[in-house]
């Protein structure tokens, strides 16, 4: 009886979770005139016009490509620097370790609006403005601390006898770390990569500030539909649906890693 209540509750929650997304899907398959003319629970004349526009206009579809490029870059950079640091925090005691850990965290606490302007100046000074690497580096500000935090949790779950045995067996640190230690926390790396991907993909303000045309992400391009002739709901909905696709694909590919990582329960 109790188990049943749980399942019913969970099913209701998941239905509520999906309905707003379904509604956007519904809108994306209708023309704007049709949307404004009548209320419909499902599209009666399905049109792929909105999607066609996005896929044939490079100023639209390049937005997805640009965002994917800097998100992947950011995830790789974040993991590369965060892995050794998380190891240091989980294994060693050193001067300023606790302060450093909290300082990392404080970088998620500044309101982005005004900070965006010095970011713009900084990256234009070093000539990186409107490049993918600029956005990838800027997103490290909030993703690297998060990655260190999550990985540290996973690493603390690995018994230290493993490190000691390897060092006695004559492994140097780099070899031990890459061939023995990282494979042990593979699931944790998967979960961390998911979080880095997620926060970089959804961030808007820094990405918009640091790009002009060459590296402009889709989330910034989407604001165009508002400034044009009124609001093109159909087009906006189609663009919105397409922003969900890469993320959904990523979770689909890492789902088993995620299930395993979450089963270890170390976040």
């Amino acid at each position: 009886m109790k188990g049943k209540k749980k399942i019913v509750g969970l099913v209701i929650y998941f239905i509520l979770l999906v309905i707003p997304i379904y509604w956007m899907l519904n809108m994306s398959l209708r023309s704007n005139a049709d949307i404004l003319a009548s209320f419909a629970l499902y599209p009666k004349d399905i049109t792929f016009m909105n999607y066609m526009k996005i896929f044939t206009d490079s100023s639209w579809y390049m937005g997805y490509v640009n965002a994917m490029i800097y998100v992947v870059m950011n995830t790789l950079i974040s993991l590369t620097v965060a892995l050794p640091a998380a190891y240091a925090f989980s294994r060693y005691q050193f001067v300023g370790d606790k302060q450093m850990f909290f300082w990392l965290l404080t970088n998620r606490m500044a309101p982005a609006a005004v900070f965006a302007l010095p970011f713009f100046q900084l990256y234009s000074t070093i000539g990186l403005l409107d490049t993918h690497i600029a956005v990838a580096l800027a997103h490290c500000l909030f993703n690297v601390p998060l990655a260190v935090w999550i990985l540290e949790g996973f690493m603390s779950g690995v018994p230290r006898e493993i490190d000691e045995t390897a060092f006695i067996d004559g492994y140097g640190f780099p070899r031990f770390f890459i061939t023995i230690f990282i494979p042990l926390i593979r699931a944790g790396v998967g979960v961390t990569a998911f979080f880095c991907f997620m926060f970089s993909w959804v961030e808007l303000l820094l990405a918009r500030t640091l790009t002009v045309t060459e590296a402009k992400p889709i989330s910034a391009i989407m604001t165009r539909t508002i400034s044009a002739t009124g609001l093109d709901y159909g087009l906006l909905a189609a663009a919105g649906i397409l922003t969900i696709v890469p993320g959904a694909m990523v979770i689909w590919f890492v789902r088993n890693h995620m299930a395993k990582g979450f089963a270890l329960g170390r976040v």
């Binding site: 749980k6 399942i7 969970l10 979770l17 309905i19 707003p20 997304i21 509604w23 956007m24 949307i35 404004l36 209320f39 629970l41 950079i77 590369t80 620097v81 050794p84 640091a85 925090f89 294994r91 050193f94 450093m100 990392l104 404080t106 970088n107 998620r108 606490m109 309101p111 982005a112 609006a113 005004v114 900070f115 970011f119 100046q121 900084l122 490290c140 500000l141 260190v148 949790g153 779950g157 993909w201 959804v202 961030e203 808007l204 303000l205 989330s219 989407m222 709901y233 909905a237 919105g240 969900i244 993320g247 959904a248 979770i251 088993n256 995620m258 979450f262 089963a263 270890l264 329960g265």
Partner: protein
């Protein structure tokens, strides 16, 4: 377990420090610089000391936005933390349901923030939205988030809970999965009820992940911008003008960098202070329970 004392560990932390400091320190210094100057144009500025700080601290609209922000973040934490834990408790522990649940629940988290706002505009508009039209026509409850204060708040809260509860649920689920089966067996032998198992085993064991969830939700809800801005534009009136929306109004639309800088730093200090208090308090709670 004692950690090994070794200052060479700094070498491992150094890359992180460099890459974060690169994006953190120079912008912070620049904003501090803005906050003590009156800037007329490129290269033309006047040192004004603490004037902007005094002006901002005395600004009644800032006070209003700040209280609104506290109310919002408070409600967010009150609703999302218990709801997220409940969902995590109800989620299956093995079988095909695990990846299915994880994939579905992570969906809202992977949608860009302005798209989130868009989804909820489309969903709640009184004429074309399922929720808006449903309330008005089906249930006969007048609902218009662009015109009525309460409706605007309900919509923003619904959006926020819809968007971010999955994060709490995912983290809580991870924490639950870490509890060894032996603890549950011991609880069963003692004849513990579901409630006391929750209070004495599950909750203390989830302390670490719940601390992360709580802090992340506090920080991100306190800094929320894109979603309510797209959805309500801060209105009707100023009723959903949260702190960062007001900040953007001052700093970017009026292009007043001095007051904007001072505002940003005050804002930053508030978030920092509360995060620090919460962090310390949550760590102490756990220690008390262990003893």
């Amino acid at each position: 377990m004692e950690k090994w004392p070794n200052n060479k560990a700094w070498l491992l932390v150094l890359p992180v420090f460099v890459i974060v400091a690169f994006s953190a320190i120079i912008p912070l210094m620049t904003v501090i610089n803005y906050s003590v100057q009156d800037i007329f144009g490129p290269g033309q500025s006047l040192f004004v000391g603490t004037e902007w700080y005094r002006q901002m601290l005395g600004d009644y609209r800032l006070h209003e936005a700040l209280w609104r922000q506290f109310l919002f973040s408070g409600l967010v934490l009150l609703i999302e933390m218990p709801l997220g834990i409940l969902i995590a408790l109800a989620m299956p522990k093995k079988g095909w349901g695990v990846p299915a649940c994880l994939v579905t629940i992570a969906l809202p988290l992977l949608i860009p923030w302005n798209t989130i706002g868009t989804i909820w505009i489309i969903f709640t508009r009184p004429d074309i939205g399922l929720f808006g039209a449903g309330m008005n026509n089906l249930l006969g409850i007048p609902f218009d988030h662009t015109a009525r204060l309460l409706d605007a708040w309900i919509t923003v809260m619904l959006m926020e809970v819809w968007h971010w509860t999955p994060l709490v649920a995912l983290l809580a689920y991870a924490g639950l999965r870490a509890i060894p089966e032996a603890y549950y067996q011991a609880a069963r032998i003692d004849g513990a009820s579901a409630w006391s198992t929750f209070v004495y085993i599950q909750l203390p064991k989830m302390r670490g992940v719940l601390t992360i969830a709580f802090l992340l939700r506090f920080m991100d809800s306190f800094l929320i911008y894109a979603e309510p801005f797209v959805l309500t534009g801060g209105g009707p009136g100023n009723s959903t003008t949260f702190l960062s929306i007001y900040l953007v109004k001052i700093a970017l639309l009026q292009f007043d960098l001095g007051p904007g800088g001072a505002f940003s730093l005050i804002y930053f200090v508030i978030v920092l202070l509360f995060s620090f208090i919460f962090y310390q308090a949550l760590q102490r709670v756990g220690k008390g329970e262990k003893a």
